[in-house]
């Protein structure tokens, strides 16, 4: 591990068992949803790694497992030098001061009965970060100012229902920020918001990253949006990484057939741009019965015999460009 790696994930798996009836529990064999099925990657300090893919590809599970909101089935996760998987409950709590998460839905992630002040002060109290009331207030107000909810005195006393969606998401960001973390998982933080507010929030996240030298794992289904906030992109398909690389590079010149299909299907806000849509067969299969070999082969336009037999490894095909495909070399 180089000194500027903040997160190291090795062969991470998360399989969810499927609950079944009594009879099949005795006689059938156990079935699993292969939500995340062996992913390996590093996150470099200060970067914004965008994790993209369609619904159900395992991107949220990956994000939540890294900060141990979900227990991994197997694999290793390191935060700086610490093995996150081996930590006990108390140690995890300490570690969460350094790793935080922002959830997708600001209407559900805030307690409706807590004022904004209490919402923000809670992590400080729980983690015994502050000793006096003045200190606590100063930290809360600073956090509100950081997310541009000003004047903070006015916002602190409000309740979530008095805020708009964009403002709520700012509160969620402030709550994550108040413990001064080094690393944040942002799970679709703007997908519930309107375009203009989306831009406002993602610009805010970029500014905060510069100010506090933060590192983000930014989970999104929106590649156009990812392009504006991210430095590197990682495309997932059915629990596996299909392609990673510098974001501009990948968006302009995708190598994996799945990435190509994804990017060619993103609608463009300019009627004069005419692009060819790459259509792929069928729809994403369930992660319960994963196709053998390359998971994408039943839908892939350039499939070869080897694709249904061997699972392609993620390998470097150009500088900084990693692709898991037999046809790309």
């Amino acid at each position: 591990m180089t000194s500027n790696t903040i997160i190291k994930v090795r062969n991470l798996r998360k399989w969810f068992p499927i609950r079944k009836g009594l009879l099949s529990a005795f006689f059938g064999k156990e079935e699993y949803v292969h939500a995340v099925d062996g992913v390996t990657f590093d996150i470099i300090k200060g970067e914004v790694l965008c994790l993209v893919g369609e619904s159900g590809c395992g991107k949220t599970t990956t994000g939540k497992t890294i900060i141990r909101l979900i227990e991994p089935t197997s694999g290793e996760i390191y935060f700086e030098e610490q093995n996150v998987v081996a930590l006990g409950k108390d140690e995890i709590r300490k570690l969460r001061c350094e790793m935080q998460i922002i959830f997708q839905d600001p209407y559900e992630s805030l307690d409706p009965r807590m004022s904004i002040y209490d919402t923000l002060a809670e992590p400080l109290i729980v983690n015994k970060i502050v000793s006096t009331r003045d200190e606590e207030e100063a930290r809360v107000f600073d956090a509100l100012e950081d997310v541009r909810l000003v004047p903070p005195e006015q916002f602190a006393m409000r309740f979530p229902h008095e805020l708009s969606g964009g403002q709520r998401q700012r509160v969620a960001i402030a709550r994550a920020l108040i413990l001064q973390p080094k690393f944040m998982v942002a799970d679709e933080p703007v997908s519930m918001l309107d375009a203009s507010i989306r831009t406002e929030i993602s610009n805010l996240l970029t500014d905060l990253r510069d100010k506090y030298n933060l590192t983000y794992l930014y989970i999104t289904h929106d590649i156009a949006q990812a392009r504006y906030i991210g430095s590197r992109i990682m495309v997932m398909y059915l629990g596996k990484i299909a392609e990673t690389g510098p974001i501009e590079n990948v968006v302009m010149n995708p190598l994996h057939p799945y990435t190509k299909a994804l990017i060619s299907n993103v609608p463009v806000p300019d009627p004069t741009v005419k692009r060819e849509r790459m259509s792929i067969l069928g729809e994403t299969p369930t992660p319960i019965n994963v196709p053998p070999g390359c998971r994408f082969h039943p839908r892939c336009p350039c499939t070869k015999p080897i694709c249904s037999e061997n699972e392609p490894k993620l390998k470097e095909v150009k500088r900084d460009r990693y692709v898991a495909c037999h046809s790309v070399a």
Binding site: A224, V251, N265, V268
Partner: protein, 329 residues
Amino acid sequence: MTLLHVQDLSTHYFIREGTVKAADDISFGIKEREAFGLAGESGCGKTTVALSIMKLLPPAGRIIKGEILLDEEDLVSKKEEEMGTVRWKKISMVFQGAMNALNPVINVGEQIAEAIITKENISKGDAWSRVKNLFELVGLDPKRIKDYPHEFSGGMRQRVMIAMALACNPRLVIADEPVTALDVIVQGKIIELLKELQKKFDLSVMLITHDLSVIAEVCNKVGIMYAGKLMECADATGLFKSPRHPYTQRLIGAYPSVVGEKRRLNFIPGVPPDLINPPSGCRFHPRCPYAKKECPETEPLYVEAEKGRFVACHFVDELKDVLKQGNNP
């Protein structure tokens, strides 16, 4: 030829808290074979306009003035029984989220057939064979005609909804956020399907969405709504290339794209107003970077600024060159 002509339409909701001015003085026309896109942020009144045309407003909503002419025939004054001959046969609608509103205990073929039989005096057998044709038309396997909604994926259910909308050969199809909850690749397929069907049947389409990129892909004419008002209406190419209303320019500027140069996206400071007490004068003035003294005082007229292009702004001529330059101020 103009198929649908909406003139000075105002629809308000009368609720306990007051009168919500959801749509005010809306005027636009949809020609035959035209794809008209109505865009704007959530709560700006797009769906209200559509429901007014269909005359399917919820009990609190009422059309308080204006005309809706379909082939020169006024729909506003039509009684509920008379609307029965218009809905589905002349205008049909794919409702927002309707793919999740299919009856789960009736197979989808039955649901479409039922709609046809209620509207047209044909036998059960004829209705079923039409359903079969519709299935093929929207790219579904006719063998699955008797499957239940849960056996279809989201994209397929949206195809079912589109089939249902086409069941009685309408001339205008209103599609309210038809691709919003879908994944990129499925979204691409539905967009292609809509375009193809529009051409094949010489349909007029009214597409309602908050996503300008989808409109850019499908529509040749666009209306931009803000806070219950139509701010600008023009052909798609012209509107995207050189917006004439400050709101249009700001909204387009907030959209990320996977093509072209990457620039810092702009956003519109502030939040959309409460439609019970909308701002005086131009409803956009509190958030408009170009607002002057007149803007809060008098409401701008919705005038033809260029041929075929309508704009509601006091300074439409003065701002022409300023808005062209892009992101300033």
